[in-house]
Amino acid sequence: MTRDTEVLVLGGGSTGCGIARDLAMRGVDVTLVERGNLTGGTTGRMHGLLHSGGRYAVSDQASATECIEENKILRDIAGHCVEMTGGLFVQRPEDSDEYFQEKLEGCRECGIPAEVLSARESREVEPYLATDIKRSIKVPDGAIDPFRLCVANAIDAQNHGARIETHAKVIDLLRDGDDIYGVKVKHDSGPGKRTHNTAGSTEEITAEYVVNATGAWAGQIGAMADLDVEVRPSKGVMTIMNVRQVDTVVNRCRPKGDADIIVPHETTAILGTTDEEVEDPDDYPEEQWEVDHMIDTLKELVPILEEARTIRSFWGVRPLYEPPGTGTTDPTDITRDFFLLDHDDRDGVDGMASIVGGKFTTYRAMAEDITDHVCEKLGVDARCVTAEEPLPGSEDMSILNEGMDNFGLRSPVARRSKQRLGSRAQDVLDTNECNPVICQCEGVTRAEIRDAIDQSGSDLNAVRIRTRASMGNCQGGFCCHNMANELSHEYDEETVRAALDELFQERWKGERHALWGEQLSQAMLNYALHATTMNRDNDPANGSKAVDFGAFDGGRVKARTDGGE
């Protein structure tokens, strides 16, 4: 029986996209389905740390070693997604000297370059560090943009022939006896790029082999075929600061604990995190104490965080897994290693493997392992090249450093645009059209927005993750509307309106967790702009009841009776 595709990958996070790219580059026909946008699950909800491995140098040296290896690879293949900020493990006076020493030695054992900085040297690197810190260890941590990385993997997979379907939710696994042969998906708006207000459809996609890369949702997928995947979702909060208080990753140097890391991420800094097991990765409480805990604990390292503005908070759900019978109670103690569950070996059900556990930094290595496994199953003999071939946008990073033209943009806008677009900058920004800035907080121009729309359809959240537009301090208050305006060149008014409403609500969702001080004032201004000035909350176009225009004041009598002067 012919199948629609050789391999079907479920899940458009870093793992799924990484697998799709790897398979496609090895010449395998692959289809990836994702229920929302790419990165919509855990990948888009992480702190953006590119691990040096230092965090695992004491507790899990195997992971640490893998991290530093992948760290080096990602710098090469994904230069436009990575910022090599460096990282510090900062010791406060109350933190243990013994642990500091263990950390230092652990790093060295794992091949992680590590250097001890005095308090003064540390503060020269990061002036906003607390004055009473003791010392720190400098390691090659970095910051990575998970959105761009994931999208670049997907684009490259597409370039190698893969089919990527977002907004395609798996509603059933197709199982025939002991063989899984595909899935049934529900397309939000039909296959292809998403367009709001287009009727949905369902599709059965058959495949030789199915890879369940849905992470924290792997248990739910497994259950569709009566397979038990014991994933233990664990939530963690991350709070986004409006500006970068630090330009280096700042870790607290102590054994384990919540709220121990600050990652400079693009224009912001992200505080993280907590670790708490949840039942359902789609429904868990997001609580005030978690946000307060981030600020109140991390201000011990960087005191200005106390007064600084946060623009939103979000929660991610780790896809933790441990083999049955391990019995770890504290989720922080569950291994960060990944597991490949071959359901044939495990459950006697052929045609599917699930991938659980793992961490973002090593997504590529994980993808390589799984792809090896799948290729073996399919009898494909091809070498993995994902560690050598740069991702789209990172083909030639040197051109960025050699004073590329500013394309008529103000220099900080040009700089940020080029950092985001990497080697695609010329293609996207070199335009004869006028190119005003659409998102002023993040310096995103019309050309970049339209490029993202070309990639992703009418979904403005997909535009957002590609460009960062609406991710700055106004949280979209001033630019959501302008982003939507850019859609109108390809989509009708009703579609644009639906896309705008969706983005605006999404922005509010995270901003709610930052509603005090400046961000509350910002929220009120945003609300006033959208409700008072634009009357979007009572838009007659959305209403069920027609407005009787004729009953209202028709303007100056003069103009109406004599038809003007």
Binding site: N242, V243, D247, A308, R410, S411, P412, Q440, E518, Q522
Partner: protein, 442 residues
């Protein structure tokens, strides 16, 4: 007065050290990114920018300030060159409803731009440096005022200035007084009133020393009228033109002269007063924002606009009620300088002159004069500067008065240049109303 016995006219501090040094030796002095936290993007600052209104090459203070800073990473030094088009009028500062430190951001970014991107061998750099350091050139003019005035009045001087230095050829150089204020003060024997309970230290600034000593003299007579003992401490430029040109290092050196001198006067029981609105603005706001010098906060907190000081400490309104100025003055077209506006002083002059019987001051609106210190002196800005001034010129011409009035020396140049009116300082009018307009040396 001991501090008046050694006037600083001949002393030109800092001439020996012209090498630019790193403006930001400490990384923590320059990181203004947290200042972007206050911005909620309302763009009120942009609507107040007189430059963005006439020149779309300047993208406005919101971009220059919070946006540019927020987009910056620690090692980024590519400040957009448009920061050099900011005229440093500071209107954005008093506009921002959310207290974003806009002018501090601009001043710091401009200094960074000059430091990292402007060639130290360029004509622009040296022209800006010269304009910023008027304080150093003026003594030469003051030494030979007649020659200097003659030279600067010749058409070819303007031509050469424009061609060689990029100084607007259409502008008339300010006339140097035949006797500086400090010379007059020394000759006069310093203060005539001694009063340990009411002491002020006068920061006269450069212009009323070298060019309009009549303003400084008016201040002396008015303050002595109210029984104040006046001190005239040694002083250097307030720094305003240096901030505006990104010459923070020069400004810091000047501040290092001014702050200890003024702090010493405060220790002697004096408050600091200034007759120039840019000088008082600089001491009050920019000093503590930009420099970390011992006593700088104290100097800032004890500095006043000279007229405001009298208003708060004396019954100035009572004294002016029904007073007359006589024949010397007719009605005025009054322009509130941006730097006075920033200090909440924009309504002061009209309110006070309203009490005087035979003179009225008509406010010519809240627009910027357009010269903004050294800005309008640059050939490349001349046209923009005159465009900005258009609104003020129009309002001046509509006001029922033929004399201009203001408290800022460069606004006064612009007002005169655009209308041909004679321009006076409010202190001169107060002197006439309170002391009489005798012009003796006493």
């Amino acid at each position: 007065m001991s501090d008046a016995e050694q006037p600083t006219d001949s002393h030109i501090p800092g001439t020996e050290e012209f090498e630019p040094v790193d403006v930001f030796p400490e990384a923590n002095e320059m990181d203004l990114r947290p200042g972007a936290d206050n911005c909620y993007k309302c763009s009120t600052c942009d609507t107040n920018c007189p430059v963005a209104e006439v020149d779309d090459d300047f993208p406005g203070p919101k971009f220059q300030g919070p946006e540019q800073w927020r987009l910056k990473r620690q090692d980024d030094y590519d400040i957009d060159e448009s920061v050099m088009k900011c005229s440093n009028c500071l209107r954005c500062d008093s506009a921002c409803p959310s207290s974003v430190p806009l002018s501090q951001m601009h001043n710091t970014a401009r200094a960074e731009y000059v430091e990292k991107h402007m060639s130290k061998y360029s004509r622009e750099y040296w022209r800006n440096r010269m304009l910023a350091n008027y304080r150093r050139l003026a003594p030469l003019g003051a030494m030979f005022p007649r020659t200097a005035n003659f030279m600067t009045s010749l058409p070819f001087t303007g031509f050469l200035g424009e061609k060689i230095l990029g100084i607007a050829g259409d502008r008339d150089f300010p006339t140097f007084a035949t006797e500086t204020f400090r010379k007059w003060w020394t000759k006069r024997g310093g203060a005539k009133v001694s009063n340990p309970d009411k002491r002020v230290a006068y920061f006269h600034g450069c212009y009323s020393n070298f060019n309009t000593p009549e303003v400084a003299k008016a201040l002396v007579r008015v303050y002595e009228h109210f029984g104040y003992e006046i001190m005239v401490p040694e002083q250097s430029c307030s720094g305003t033109p240096m901030f505006a040109n990104g010459m923070l290092d020069d400004a810091r050196r000047a501040a290092e002269t001014n702050v200890p001198e003024l702090a010493a006067a405060i220790d002697d029981g004096a408050d600091i007063i200034a007759s120039c609105s840019s000088c008082s603005m600089s001491l009050r706001q920019e000093y503590p924002e930009l420099f970390d010098i011992e006593d700088i906060e104290r100097v800032s907190a004890n500095t006043w606009d000279a007229i405001e000081y009298l208003r708060v400490h004396e019954d100035l309104e009572g004294a002016l009620e029904g007073a007359t100025v006589g024949e010397e003055f007719d009605d005025f077209a009054y322009h509130a300088p941006c730097h006075a506006r920033n200090q909440g002083l924009d309504g002061q002059t009209v309110e006070l002159l309203g009490l005087v019987d035979d003179v009225d001051a008509y406010d010519v609106g809240d627009s910027c004069s357009g010269i903004s210190g050294t800005y309008g002196w640059k050939a490349e800005n001349y046209e923009t500067s005159m465009k900005i001034g258009e609104e003020m010129f129009e309002h001046m011409e509509h006001a029922p008065a033929d004399t201009g009035l203001t408290e800022c020396p460069t606004c006064s140049m612009q007002m005169g240049h655009g209308t041909g009116y004679e321009i006076r300082h409010t202190l001169e009018v107060l002197e006439a109303a309170l002391v009489g307009s005798e012009t003796g040396d006493a």
